[in-house]
């Protein structure tokens, strides 16, 4: 439902980041109106290219088309979309005919960690009279009620986006500055209608965090009459929307990173890959089953009947014949092995060995690959400080692999997860380590992967067993994890010495795939932390690392100042050097 904005009336809209508080289908006004932003900070106008149209029967301007028939006039309202756009359309129509609203300019709400930069434009266009283009900026108070009063903190717009530096205190009718206009792309200095174009402006509204609210107060201001017929939207370029930049640590008193909105410091999500498309189970040449022990034993009885268990002569002869008939069936059994995961299974089917349907019904394996997740750990920092990284080291034990080094940045103040992808055909696997951490800016990304083999082959023949033992079959060696620990980079000497005093301790070695099944089946994280020894008055006597530029009138207590500009202090050179040294050694404010 359309909303009418009346002249000289105050309206307030609260807009939160990423959405608009209200949505207006068609909003129109019988007067020029403008959006004001409360508590906005100064901004820079970024002019877009002109968008001129040419029409032999009309005078065209950027954004506005003048109609000469005196009948069709269009009111323009404020049209909001719900997808982070604020579309502002200015309306200044002498007539109250309402047709549609058209976009003039677009605000884009992004997630840039910046102050509020709001620019908007107020077009005061008066037919047959001079006009002015007002631009509101900065901390704009609610403008005074009443027409023809230019609000405070506004500047007059000239062509080519040049501003006047001498703002007018009152820019009513007759006191504004004319702007050039064009006819068929030609600057026309002689105009009967005295309409003035203005350049398209690009506005951006940035909020720092998801909870910021921009309070927009707008007021319609009577602008007199204007004959406008069409308004053409401008193809706005996509604004740069950098991601919010969080301080990586407690910023109390600290200085923020220098902001660079175009810098992208986000991590990409690197997920676990999907399964390869081609597999043994789907090739059709091989039958892959997942029998239980009973079924396996039943298969053995079929392949190798026990003549000694015959109940009578006929039974013995039958079993002997079966033995002869089945003597080569073992050659059709490719492999039988144990893996630590349950394969993906389909419907049951009789085990077929060569030409023989054994009649033993077992589940059929339908996929060469199966995923197994070990879950994740969500760990908060222990010290809430540098010691969580420089005085901490960690190792990760992975089933079938052993101990591997990890960095505290992979799991501190975040989540670390372990997932496996097994190939059930040969027992090989890939282990994926994923991490999400706000400190290291990781976002559910794979930060390590290890391959190995976890498979115990069940020997089928004497030759088969000999090959197994010799390591030819199933000799995939689990990824070797050395005992080497990650270097404690940047640690204070004491903490580093403490952590490294024990040296590199080898906690696992390479082992074959069969031995891998005998290892611990849970992953676990081994965290080694230095135990701090701080005296009770450490802060008072020594202070804590600061690295903050501040006014010295704001500091108190023990303070060390690396360097300071002492110019202007009326002391002798020697006294100044003594002062500098005292400040560097530590004083009490």
């Amino acid at each position: 439902m359309a909303t009418i904005f009346n002249s000289n009336t105050m309206y307030e809209v609260t807009v939160t980041k990423g959405c608009l508080a209200k949505y207006y289908d068609v909003v129109y006004s019988d007067r020029a109106c403008a959006w004001l932003v409360e508590n906005a900070v100064p901004f820079n106008i970024i002019p877009l290219l002109n968008d001129f149209r040419s029409d032999s029967s009309h005078h065209w301007w950027p954004l506005f088309k003048y109609g000469t028939d005196g009948v069709n006039y269009v009111d323009y309202g404020i049209n909001f979309e719900q997808q982070n756009d604020i579309i502002i359309v200015y309306s200044a129509n002498y007539f109250q005919t309402i047709t549609n609203s058209t976009e003039i300019a677009r605000f884009q709400i992004g997630s840039i960690p910046s102050s509020y930069n709001i620019y908007f434009i107020y077009f005061n266009h008066e037919r047959g009279t001079s006009s002015a283009l007002y631009i509101f900026y900065g901390n704009v108070d609610i403008i005074g009620v009443g027409p023809y009063t230019r609000p405070n903190n506004t500047r007059i717009m000239q062509q080519n986006s040049q501003f006047l530096d001498s703002p007018l205190t009152d820019c009513g009718i007759g006191s504004s500055i004319p702007l050039p206009y064009y006819t068929n792309d030609t600057l026309d200095t002689e105009s009967y209608f005295q309409y003035y174009p203005f350049k398209v402006m690009k506005w951006s509204l940035y909020t720092y965090n998801p909870y910021d609210t921009v309070r927009m107060i707008f007021q319609t201001v009577q602008a007199g009459s204007i004959d406008l017929q069409y308004v053409y939207s401008i193809n706005n370029e996509d604004p740069v929307v950098p991601t919010p930049e969080e301080p990586p640590f407690d910023p109390s008193g600290d200085e923020p990173y220098p902001e660079n909105p175009s810098r992208d410091d986000t991590s990409d999500d690197i997920p676990i890959p999907g399964n390869p498309l081609i597999g043994v189970t789907t090739a059709g040449f091989i039958n892959v089953y997942s029998p239980g022990m009973n079924a396996l034993q039943g298969l053995g009885d079929i392949l190798f009947p026990n003549v000694a268990s015959a109940t009578d002569v006929m039974d013995a002869i039958l079993k002997l014949c079966q033995t002869i008939a089945n003597q080569n069936l073992i050659n059709y059994v490719i492999d039988c092995h144990v893996i630590p995961v349950t394969p993906q299974l389909g419907t049951n089917s009789n085990i077929k060995v060569g030409f023989r349907d054994t009649g033993i019904s077992v589940p059929v394996v339908t996929n060469d690959y199966v995923d197994a997740t070990c879950g994740s750990l969500n760990l908060a920092e222990w010290f809430n400080g540098a010691a969580d990284y420089s005085a901490t080291r960690s190792k990760l034990y992975l089933p079938f692999i052993g101990f591997v080094d990890t960095k505290p940045e992979f799991w501190q103040a975040g989540t670390i997860s372990v997932d496996y992808k097994f190939n059930v055909i040969d027992g090989s696997f890939m282990c994926y380590i994923k991490s999400s951490s706000s400190k290291s800016n990781l976002s559910n990304s794979i930060i390590a992967q290890y391959a190995g083999n976890a498979c115990m082959h069940l020997p089928l023949t004497g030759v088969n067993y000999a090959q197994m033992v010799s390591g030819i079959i199933g000799a995939g060696v689990a990824a070797v994890a050395t005992g080497g620990t990650s270097a404690v980079l940047g640690a204070a000497a004491s903490a580093a010495n403490t952590l490294m005093r024990g040296g590199d301790v080898q906690q696992s070695n390479g082992y074959n795939s069969t031995a891998a099944l005998m290892g611990v089946r849970y992953p676990f994280l081994m965290i080694e932390r230095a135990v701090p020894a701080f005296p009770g008055k450490y802060g008072h006597d020594k202070g804590y690392p600061s690295n903050i530029t501040t006014n010295l009138g704001n500091v108190s207590g023990y303070t060390e100042i690396e360097d300071i500009d002492l110019s202007g202090i009326p002391l002798t050179q020697g006294e100044l050097e003594e002062l500098r040294q005292l400040l560097a050694d530590g004083v009490y404010f």
């Binding site: 144990v338 197994a372 496996y420 903490a495 207590g557 100042i561």
Partner: protein
Amino acid sequence: MNITLYVNTSDPKAVNKTLTNDLNISGIAKDPLDMVNPVIEVEGDIVASLGQYNYMYIEDYARYYFISITGESYRLSTITGHCDVLSTSKNWLKLRQATVSRNESLYNAYLEDPNFSSYAYTNIVLKKFPTAVNLDSIVLMTVG
């Protein structure tokens, strides 16, 4: 010259010192005149009566000083001073911006502290993931 004696109970490294028992006296600066390390002669034996004073301010020099009082005779005492540059410049310092490298209350916990001390042993913690890989299964592959 006019001299104001004080009893300073603050740490010498304190910028804002607690000064009490202020006492105005007169003295004569000995030659050679030294604004940083003045030697002031005061009439009379003031060692016993004013011996507790350890601080002074000389208005003519606009400086504060750490002092020691000695008596040369019963008629003459000497005040030897060394400029306290911190107190003398405190009003200027408070208006300055500087990079604070260490502070008692204004700090960044994520900066390395070279003074970090720790015990000789470390704390080792094991955190287990919730799910094991232990669903052992048999896989049989045949041709046929």
